[in-house]
Every structure is written in C-alpha cells, then in structure tokens.
Symmetry: C2
Subunit: 625 residues, 2 copies
C-alpha cells in the first residue's frame, strides 16, 4: 500500500466484504484472444448433476457476461490507492498516435493538483495523461473507418459471444425466433463485425485513452442490451470513499457503464478515484461541474471555462460526456406550457443560459470545437436530451422531437469528425408512444445508439419507479435501444441508498435481458433454459446461481424453508408434496417412457377421435360414462 | 361482538392498525346511484393550492378507484365475527328467483357444520345459503341477455367512471390517444353498456348470490384493467386470522379480486371467514380442496366428490372457480418433452387423473353439469390453463395452444348456459410471443375476458419475478387482457409475506394502469397529470397522496430529507438548489409570461431563421461569435 496516510485512504483501502465477495456458485474465467494480453473476463456458473429421479445427467456450466471487474476475482489484489491494472495501456501505446503530456492541459486541473489542501483527498498515484499527437484522431471510430481492428474491438467480440460456440455444442439450443424490428443480429460476433458497426456509427466502444483500466464493452442495437447505473453525491450527501464503494457495488450487480453525477465539493478528486478503480466506462455530465465553478449561476457559464472542464475530465479518463447541445433557444419557449417544463438538469441549465443571453446554446455553436477535444482522447458523445418529457403529458411533444432532430444533425457532424456518438432518450412515455420515439430516433440519428432513461410508463407510482420504467425500458430495448439508464425506487423522492441501487440495477438487467430475448439474440435463452431445467429438477442451488441475484434468491428461499435438506427436496415450499406439479410431470414422463412414444401418440390419436365424436354431437359435451 | 369465545376470535377481532388505517390524504366517498341503497365507494384525494410562485390556483380533488372496502372507512364499524354488511342482499332478494335453503346441500359442508371440534374455528354468524329456484338461472349474464340492467350493473358503471364527468369539468383533460387493438373503449360507461358487454360474454361481473357482501366490479377488456392477488396458507404455513388479515391487506393496496388458494386443515372454515369479510370477489381452485379430501391421491378423485366440493364452495359464496377442464388426455403426452412439463397445480392433478384412469378429464366430460351448478349460484368460470408454460422454452407450444382451443370450445358451452366465463392465461412468455397469445385467446374464446398470470418475460430473475412479470403483464394488458394475476417477488422461491404481497400488488397496479393509459381509457391520465403537476410545483404531500403507495413515497422522501420544511421546499433532495430544473423551468415560464407569448413566438421564428442559415452553410455549424 503506497499511500499518503489519511482518513480517506484508510477508508478507501477497505471495500466491504459485501461488495467484493465472490458471486456464489461461479468463478471468474478469462478467454484469451489473439494475443496473450487480451484476456476477456467472464463468469462461469458450475451446475450440479441432474438427480437420478429425473434421468441423471451432467449439466454443462453456463458462461455469463461479467461486468464486475477484478473485484470478484479471488486472485486479484485490490488496492484502491494504486487503482486497477492498466490493461489497455500497451494497446494504446502501440498505436503510436498519442503522447504523454508533461503537465495537465486544463487550468482547473493544474490548480487542483497544486493545491496542498487537497493532498488528503487526492488519488495518490496519478500518472500524467495522454493526448493524441497533433493532427491525430485516436477514436475507435477513426480506426474502424480505416479498416483497423483494434484489440479493443476483438475484446468486445469475444465478450459479446460469451463462449457461445462452446455452449452450443453442450446445450441443445432451444430458443424462440426473435422479432428484431430491423436490427442486424448476428449468430456469432466477429471482430470485423464490431469494426464495421463502429465505423457505421451504429455502435460505440467508449474507452478514453486515459482510462486504460477499462475492460472494453460495446453499445449498439446489434449487440447485447446494456445498462447504466448512476452514482454521485450531491450537496446534501456522501463522500469519496462511499462513491468508490457505490461503483464497485453497481458493477457487481451488472452495471455495464457508470455515470458519475457528483456535484459536491471534491468533484474532481472523487472522479479521479472512481476512474482509477473502474473496470467499466465512466460517463459524466460536464456542465454540472462547470456550473459548480460559477457557483450555480447558469448565466455566468462561458465556452472557455466549459472547454477547460471538458479537457480536465478528458485527461482524467472520462469515457463519455453527456452534452446538451440540442437545447436550442428556439425550443425553450416550447416548454413553457408543459406540465413539468424542463426536467433535465443539464437541459434546464442550458435553457437558462440561452434565455439570459438571448443567444444560441454555446454547446451547439461550439460543437465542432468539442469534437476536436473528443477525438484527441477518444471520449464518446452522449448527446443529452435536455428537453426530455418529465411526465406522460409532455411525451413526444414538439420540444422533445425538435431537440431529437437537432441531435440527429449533430450526430452527423460528430461522425464527420469520427467521434463516437450515442443519443439520450426519455423519460416518461406511455407504452403506446414508445415505438414512435424509437423509430424517430433511428431515422433522425442514422441508427446511432439510443440510450434511454426508462421510459417510465406511468407517473403515479413514486417509490416504485424502477418498475414503472423497467416496463418501458424492456419495450424500448426490444424496439432498438442499445443502453438503458437505470431508475431506482427512490427516483423523484430522494437519493438512492445501496439497496435502491441494487433494486434499480436488477430491474434493468431484467429489462435488458427481456429485450435480448425478444430481439432473438443468439444464445440469449441459454441461461433461461438452464435455470428452468434446474428449477424443474429441484436443483435449488443451481437455480439460485443461475439467477441474476443468487444471494437474494437463496435468502428468499431460506425464509420459508431454511433447512439445507430442503434445497434437495423433491417438492418445494409453495405447494407441499401433494400439490407438487413438478413431481406429477415426472409421473407423466415416466408414463410416456414406460409406454413408449408410440403409445403416447396412439393415445393422442385415439383421444382426438373421441373428441371428434364430441364435437359432432355439437355442444352436447356431457355424456354418461 | 357476538362470538363464541376462542383464541381465534380474539385474534380475528383485531385487525392490525397497519391494514385498516385511513389512506393518507384521502377520504372514502360514496356516489349514489338510482336508488338509495346503491352507494358506490370511491376514494377522493384532496389537493392543496398551487404555491404563489407557480401561479397560485386551486387544485380540484382527484377521485380514484377504491378496492379497500369498509376497512379504510373511519365511519365503518368492523367486526370480523359478524362479517361485512350484506349490501347486495336486497337486490338479490328482490329478483325473486332464489330461495333460502333449509340446510347446506353439500355433504361435506354439513359434516363440517355438525363437527363440534370445529366450533372454535368456525365463523360464528353463518346464515343459510341461497340457491336459484328450480329451473331458474341467476347469473348476471342471464339477466343481461334478457335486457335486464341489475343494480350490480349500474353499480359497476358508476364505479368504472370514477366521477369522470365531474373531473372533466374541473381538469383540463390532457391525454394521449390510445392504441386499443380493437377494444371498444367508451367515453362514459353506461349501465346499458355494462349489460351489453356481459350479455355478449366480453365481460363478467363475478358475484355469487351467497356473497352479498361484495361490492360489484367488472372484468372485461373494455373496462379498467383489474388485478388479482392470491392468498392462502399451505401445508407449511399460516392460520385463519392471518389469512383474513392478508385479505384486508391485499385490497388495501388495490387487489380487485382475491383468490383463496388455501390447502390446509381448516380450508373450509378459513374460506368462510374470508368470504364473510371480503368486499371483493373471491376465487378458488376447487380441485385443491377435492385433492385434500382424498389425501392427495389424484387418482382417487371422483366427479361425485368434486361436485360436492363445488356446491360446498358455491354455497359459501365463492365468486369464481378455476376449473381445469381443458386438460384433455390427448394433450398430456405433449408435455412430456417440455423443459418444465406441467407447472399448474390443478393441471398436473388432472393430468395425473387422466393417465391413471386412461379416461378423459372428468371436468370436461361433466362440463355441462358444472354449468348447472354455476348458474344456480352465479359462480363465474375461470377456465384454468392447466398446461400453461412454466418457462420461456415451453411458451406458445402445442400443449398450451391445444388447451386454449378447448377452452374456447368450453366457453361457448358455458355461454349457452348463460354462465359468466373468463379464461386463464400464462405464465412464462418472451415479449415477442405475447401478442400472438393474446390474439389467439380473443379469437378462440370469442373475446371472453383473459385473465393472465404475468406473463414472466424471462426466467432468470428468481427473487424479482414481480418485475419480470409486470413487464409482460403491462403488455398483455395493453393488448387486451382484462385481469392480471399478480406475482410476488417470492414466486418460485417461497411463500409471500406481507411485504411481498404489497410489492406484488404495486407492480401489478402499475402494469394495469400502464395498460389503461396505452389503451386510451378516458380519464386514465388524470391522476398522472395531477401527480406530475404536484411534482412540478413541489407539492410534496400531494405527490405522495396521488401515488399508488402514499406511505412508501413519504417514507422514501423522509429518508433523505426528513424535515417537514423540506416538504414545501422549492427544490428537492436529488439535486440541491442550484441544479433544480423545476426552478429553472419556472424562470422560463416567467420569461415567457413577462415577454408575452408573441415574443416567445418571435424568438422561435427568429431562431429558426438563424438555424436555417446554419443548415445552409452545410455541416459548418460552428461559427465565431
């Protein structure tokens, strides 16, 4: 442990056991790619043998996507003050198009660095950042357009496949055909397909060159649906150590990316700790920090200080920026008659600035300058929907759709600069209007990935908005949204605690997986099939382990039937032995086995005849026996 | 208190305060119909005035559907040992087509009644049951077909409207057009429309003449989407007092009907306590009790003892029976190759019986005899889907759809007898297959109401199946399902406790309301609009009160900002004062007000011109200022 002794470091040194303990019934594995330093993490769930009663057979392990990083790897040594290993460092270096800076570029960053008062909260092992060499573009989109398959792209291809080839051999792949609404779903993801999707702008691979600790992942409608979890303190709340722990907690349950929405005093330092310890891409909304710098007075925001903020964060390693460049002055009056006006924080800040200056949004007017920064670090755009509807009444209105059209326009500009781009979406939308929204986004934004918050399908359930929004999220994911931003039960009411974060992520893992199934992603149903088989065969532990939250499943089971014996019992707590339908089904199977399939068929045929007799007698079904 | 002293009675005498306390911010009201004894309960939520900052105005109260019965009425005197007032007794009597029996008809019922050992658990104030006079049919469908509008039908019409006329005047009705997939949604529900829907078989009004305590409600795709909650002990679990409390708890949160799935020792007595104290229709699965009577040996079931069970329960007042008459012998072998075989308890019992006897399901062969019983008490059919899929892999397969076709055939037979009928549906179905299921049900069953369990849209989230299934429930409700049977977080894992029941009901109230909004039920959005307006205006208490669960909303809010002052504060806990988008929106409105709408329009026009300039310069958006 290399560290400046401080209370903070003592705190951050130790993550609680609850966020790092191995996930029950499974182990971390790594699949090697074309080079030894390309090792793609996955989680393998071991399954027990089918009991003899049900035919006795081995059940092959199931491999699942793993976002949890080294934290759930018993072989990894975690030292938060050192940060995670920089697994992409060599790949970045090898490309030879970046240079290590001799000092931070942003004024603000330098000021923070030289401020001795911050020593006690500063991440102690900060390396100097990299930037593209003059005239170079280091975005994955740029490489992709040139036909280059980067190690990041290969990593992603392996990761998306989840050893599907291996599983295919072992499992009888039984899956319903999907309805993909025009998505281009592949049977096997090749690195070339990844490259092509990124070049086409249909997918993004957010990985800032200053975040070499990240495990590459991809966001696009032709890949697995991803979810984002938000963390971040606020004026009212938490500290640095707590935020890092929230990060680790979020990825444990399946957050594919994490947005740091901190707005507190040590926003810069908190972000550094988070990025250095994050195996997933980190997104931010730079305007939040910019507003802090002018003490909350939106009208005092300037392009120059915003620009400095972008560079400050780009050099820390933020992987994508939410930029509210579509909040145009002419759209602002369209919100005046809304039920809930502007509910996006970033959107309202920019609206206020526009009104105060009676000028066009500086994020819009300086958009190409922003692109220049983005491509020097490979930061991806998440074009913010500052005018998203905050209630059903405002859904799909002129302000929202006007902004979406502008985001489409900006997407094309970003692509001209080879800057990776995704588009943020609503919000609150009743079910019957969700598809219109998705279709318009695909059309206006040339299939750039859509990244939606929910949408919430009703306004009347404060305290349960993870559910109101999981419904909308599953549907919009099915229709084509690439990443779903989670909503916790505390939405609209307060700041989420640890339990809320877990509940929000679970609701969104469900929505994302339901979407993958509905789109017909190859292999998406393997885990469902394995779990259901385990359920049928009363392999309780396997059922828990295959679930999205093995700990909760076991805990719930044990509330009713805590004894270990019950985890192998051939009936379950809900019905008791007489009523066990699983048991009766086994009798049916035994009958079919005993009498042979022919007899079963004969039975079917014979009864069909009898039934025909019934029908011929008209409605006179009843007859004496 | 008229009671045999016993521990049970002392227990049941007192419902806990948590299940009976008034729902915060609202009061029970009654809307009178065409006769003074026709008083339809509703809940009126009072709203506070809009703060001056936001324009200061009165907010009219919002009336919402109320399933909670007299329990949340401070004026009602609750005595569980007396049961609820028999509000429909006079209506039933007036029709003159029923008679009070001199003794129970069922052998089993008589045996229980004369067994002194049961005195301590028996409901003490049981009246003798009624039955149709010889040759009479007392079903609401029968009256409807003859053009008679019963008080029950008028009650339902008033109830469905929720004082929409009054609310329309007060509120500016802003609601998105729905997509109703061929449903016949009315602007105002008239008693005649109710009659017509019941006559047509498109809706049912489940209210056994022996359950005069029930407040009439209707289940049909052209009415508000309803939800059912299941209660019931099992071999492993609870007693009578607990079950009654579960009933009251379920309807407090919005259960429209409750199914009593008890399988324990005092199944008959428990049911009596539940029915006598239930203001909502009670459903049962009579085969469960029949199986208890033969000690769990399915092959010993006989038509005669099943018939006795039906009569026993019909005379207690059960409002609908799940009858698994579609599990035909020829379908059983179709389940042998399934991943999870037969998962319906009732379905598996009947399958076992069919196999053991190599005979057709006696529920099918005696179906018309069952109809005779149903119409003598007005018990509605809930035709059980004994072959519903228990996992995604088995969804929409030959067994499931074969049974559904048979249920369609049986529906027509039931209708011939003027017996009210709904159809049960799955189960586990991935999103892309849900509509096929709904469409087939409408087609095969002549639009008889569909009553589905979920469906669950993925198998991989044990512990969160209220969410996996709320997604499917919202969608199938939108497509046309009339009632959604809830699923709790404990599904597949254990018996739900009180918290699980509340969570399950909330998930389903959300799904049902999302469906109503999507179908475009007139007025469905009023509550959403009122809540969102309250949210925008920082009327925190109003926001809580308009929510589906006011207690949870307040509790969550108070976790972050417990002080009372924060409930009127003009910013909230999530963002703090600087970041409050609501506050900024108000600035936008003030600006629009100050500068006039004309200026706002001019602004829009002027900026549109400027933007035109931008576009004409091609993608060259950036320009120096």
């Amino acid at each position: 442990m290399n560290a400046v002794p401080s209370t903070l470091l003592q705190q951050t040194e130790q993550l609680s056991e609850s966020v790092t303990r191995p996930i029950p019934g499974s182990r971390k594995i790594h699949v090697e790619g074309s080079r030894p330093d390309l090792r793609v993490p996955m989680r393998e769930i071991a399954l027990s043998r089918t009991p003899t009663l049900f035919g006795g057979e081995d059940n092959p392990p199931v491999t699942v996507y793993d976002t949890s990083g080294p934290y759930t790897d018993p072989d990894a040594r975690i030292d938060l003050a050192l940060g995670l290993p920089a697994l992409r460092a060599r790949w970045i270096e090898e490309r030879g198009d970046t240079e290590v800076l001799t000092a931070l570029t942003s004024e603000f960053g330098r000021a923070r660095e030289s401020n001795a008062k911050l020593d006690s909260v500063r991440f102690p092992n900060r390396a100097l950042p990299r930037r593209a060499k003059a005239g170079m573009n280091v975005s994955q989109m740029h490489y992709a357009k040139q036909g280059i398959i980067t190690p990041e792209m290969e990593f992603v291809a392996i990761r998306e496949n989840q050893r599907l080839e291996a599983v295919r051999e072992a499992h009888l792949l039984m899956q319903h055909p999907g309805e993909n609404f025009g998505a281009n779903i592949q049977k096997i993801i090749t690195p070339e397909f990844v490259r092509d999707e990124i070049a086409r702008g249909r997918a993004i691979l957010p990985n800032n060159i200053n975040h070499p600790e990240s495990e590459p992942m991809i966001i696009g409608r032709n890949f697995l649906t991803k979810i984002n979890a938000n963390i971040g303190n606020s004026a009212v709340s938490s500290g640095i150590a707590e935020e890092v722990e929230k990060l680790v907690w979020s990825i444990r349950w399946g957050g594919d990316t994490v947005m740091d929405l901190s707005t507190g005093k040590h926003i810069h330092e908190t972000r550094e700790w988070i990025i250095r310890n994050s195996p997933v891409p980190i997104g931010t909304v730079p305007i939040y920090q910019a507003l802090e710098k002018v003490d909350g007075r939106a009208e005092e925001l300037t392009w120059e200080m915003f620009r400095d903020t972008l560079i400050e964060q780009a050099e820390q390693g933020v992987d994508y920026f939410t930029i509210h460049a579509g909040v145009l002055l002419r759209y602002v009056p369209l919100t005046a008659k809304r039920t809930t006006g502007i509910v996006s924080r970033g959107g309202s800040i920019m609206a206020k600035w526009c009104l105060a200056h009676h000028k066009e949004n500086f994020l819009y007017t300086h958009f190409e300058e922003i692109c220049e920064i983005m491509k020097a670090y490979d930061v991806a755009f998440s074009l913010g929907d500052g005018l998203r509807p905050g209630c059903l009444a405002d859904a799909n209105d002129a302000a929202q759709f006007g902004e979406l059209e502008t985001l489409g326009e900006l997407t094309k500009i970003a692509w001209k600069h080879d800057v990776q781009t995704m588009i943020e979406g609503p919000g609150h939308v009743p079910m019957q209007l969700i598809k219109e929204n998705m279709d318009k986004q695909l059309r206006e934004c040339g299939e750039a990935p859509f990244y939606t918050l929910g949408p919430l399908t009703t306004d009347i359930a404060p305290g349960y908005d993870h559910i109101t929004s999981a419904i909308g999220a599953a549907m919009i994911g099915w229709y084509g949204t690439a990443m779903l931003c989670y909503v916790t039960p505390k939405e609209h009411l307060g700041l989420p605690n640890r339990q809320d974060v877990r509940d929000g992520i679970m609701a969104y893992k469900i929505a994302a997986h339901a979407a993958d199934l509905a789109k017909g992603h190859p292999g998406a149903q393997i885990r469902d099939n394995a779990l259901s088989k385990a359920r049928f065969e009363f392999r309780w532990e396997d059922q828990f382990h295959l679930g999205l939250d093995p700990e909760k499943a076991k805990e719930f089971h044990d509330e009713t039937l805590p004894k270990d014996a019950h985890k192998v019992a051939h009936f379950c707590s809900m019905c008791g032995p007489h009523f066990c339908s699983m048991k009766i089904t086994q009798d049916v199977r035994d009958y079919a086995a005993e009498h042979g399939v022919d007899e079963a068929k004969a039975l079917e045929a014979g009864m069909a005849e009898k039934s025909q007799e019934f029908r011929e007698k008209g409605a006179q079904v009843y007859h004496k026996e």
